[in-house]
């Protein structure tokens, strides 16, 4: 007999319930790409925070390039001047005003730029910042007696912002940010001092000029040993020997007389002298010396002398006998002036560390008499 009452079909209800659960699960998979609340903001904050150090990293890099450039300039501040060379020293004189470098800041910027381009060309593997397309406009500013290098760029780093998923895994890109790596860094070099020294040198040449001042070295010393400068010995024993011989060679080449032996040969050292296309080389180093004509390639040993033949060409002789050439009065002097106010920070290859180095200005002065 059939039950007349309405019957609840629990089995159907159960199946319907399970189907609904299935639908919920299915819909769950459909909406799984919707990010959790706060995921975007956390991802963006992380990206901003993580990349906020880019200007600092750029500044740290530029400080190194600047230190390198300053080291380059400071090793010989006058190297880029237009002055003539006197045995590897720049020869300064009061007549040739133009030879004093008026734009040391410009030279620094040029060296910095060159070194920056070198850095750009050597791409560092794994370095996530690509500077290869970043071009800077460099300017030097002076604030509170200190010099700063300012680098402005319109080129931006494009940095993707990715969704941060579970345990820091990077998800899909949700945007991008742009950072211009401009910088302003201290240079650690006083460009004014160079200009002050250049003025002092000009005054010194004028003061020490003439026969009233026979002791040029003392006169120069009295004039330059002030205002934060100090004359000092800066050549090593080897350099002294080399430059001493160059001076002897220069004196000989420009001496008065022919078919004569050049006197006052420094006793140390063996030197090879070779004629090359546009000058001479002594011990493999190209040297600018006026009137230096060789009879042939030479090798001079201790105890030997230079000889100037009838054609004014120089050769080697073993004895200081016969006619002696007349050496002209010395008008060119080499000097090293140490700054007592400025030092610069540089990487020392020998010490293999960064050290403060004395700033030493090397130059030669020429007097007319």
């Amino acid at each position: 007999m059939k039950n007349k009452k309405a019957v609840i079909h629990w089995d159907i209800l159960l199946i319907a319930f399970l189907v609904s659960i299935g639908i919920i699960f299915f819909s769950g998979t459909l909406t799984s790409n919707v990010p959790k609340v706060g995921q975007y903001s956390i991802s963006m904050t992380q990206a901003f925070e993580k990349n906020s150090n880019i200007p600092l990293i750029a500044a740290t890099l530029m400080k190194q390039i600047s230190r390198n450039s300053i080291s380059n300039i400071s090793s010989d501040v006058f190297q880029l001047s237009n002055c003539k060379n006197y045995i590897n020293y720049k020869l300064l004189n009061s007549e040739n005003e133009i030879c004093f470098n008026k734009n040391l800041e410009g030279d620094f910027k040029a060296i910095f730029d060159k070194k920056y381009i070198e850095f750009q060309s050597k791409k560092l593997k794994d370095f996530d910042l690509d500077f290869s397309n970043t071009k800077y406009d460099f300017s030097i500013n002076k604030e509170n007696e200190k010099f700063f290098l300012n680098g402005k760029t319109e080129n931006r780093f494009e940095i993707p912002i990715n969704l941060i998923e579970d345990k820091g895994k990077t998800g899909k890109q949700i945007g991008k940010m742009f950072i211009k790596p401009s910088f302003n860094i201290p240079i650690g070099f006083n460009f004014d001092e160079y200009e002050n020294l250049a003025e002092s040198i000009k005054d010194t040449i004028n003061d020490c000029e003439g026969e009233d001042n026979p002791d040029k070295g003392k006169c120069v010393s009295d004039n330059l040993n002030k205002d934060g400068f100090e004359l000092q010995e800066c050549e090593t024993g080897e350099e002294k020997e080399f430059y001493g011989f160059l001076e002897y060679f220069d004196n000989c080449a420009n001496s008065i007389g022919i078919s004569c032996v050049c006197p006052n040969r420094p006793q140390e050292g063996t030197f090879s002298i070779n004629q090359v296309n546009d000058g001479i080389e002594i011990n493999g180093r190209k040297i600018e010396i006026e009137n230096a004509n060789l009879a042939r390639d030479l090798k001079i040993k201790p105890g030997q002398f230079l000889y100037k033949d009838a054609y004014g060409e120089i050769s080697v002789t073993n004895k200081e006998e016969g006619d002696i050439c007349t050496i002209r009065a010395k008008t060119k002097f080499r000097f090293c002036v140490k700054s007592n106010k400025n030092q610069y920070y540089a990487y020392d290859e020998d010490a293999q560390k960064i050290v403060f180095k004395d700033l030493v200005y090397k130059f030669a002065l020429q007097f007319s008499k």
Binding site: N3, V7, I8, H9, W10, D11, L13, L14, F17, L18, I21, K36, G38, I42, T45, Q46, E49, K50, S52, N53, L56, I57, A59, T60, L61, K63, Q64, I65, R67, N68, K115, F119, K122, L124, K125, D126, F127, D128, I164, E165, D166, K167, G168, P186, G188, Y347, Q352, K353, I354
Partner: protein
Amino acid sequence: MFNKRGGVAIEEFRGALTYIFVFAIVVLFFYGCNISNIKKNKETFEFSKDSLLAVKTLNSFIETPVGEEERVADTIVESYLNNDYSEFENAAKNHFSDIEIDWRLVVYSKKGYLLYDSYGYLAQTAYYTQLLAKSSIRIPVQEKEPELLNIILEIREKQNKNEK
């Protein structure tokens, strides 16, 4: 068979009980999943929070001024060039002494050589507490040979002082 007194049939209770049972299991399953999700979300949130803390802490550390014109980022480069990390270590100790986290700073070269480890070069990994998050910064070196220093800050679970 029907209840003679006009009550509900016993077979109908069996269906209802099965339904209630399955319903309870499913609800419990969902509840469990939800708890697991909450836990996972909490872990993710904690991880994001710790990651952000690691990033912020490392950034603020390398930006810390050292002397008049230098920052810790410059000190790292100099330490590498001088092969002496004492100044860097002092800067790190000063900076992190006020921060309530257990930290570890490591510097690697681009080839992966360990250059500095604030735990010491011979630290036993077995004694490390659990890593919560880490952040890294790469700084190029232009002097000497070109190098890329990888500075990593790890934030670890606070060590029990009694264990130290």
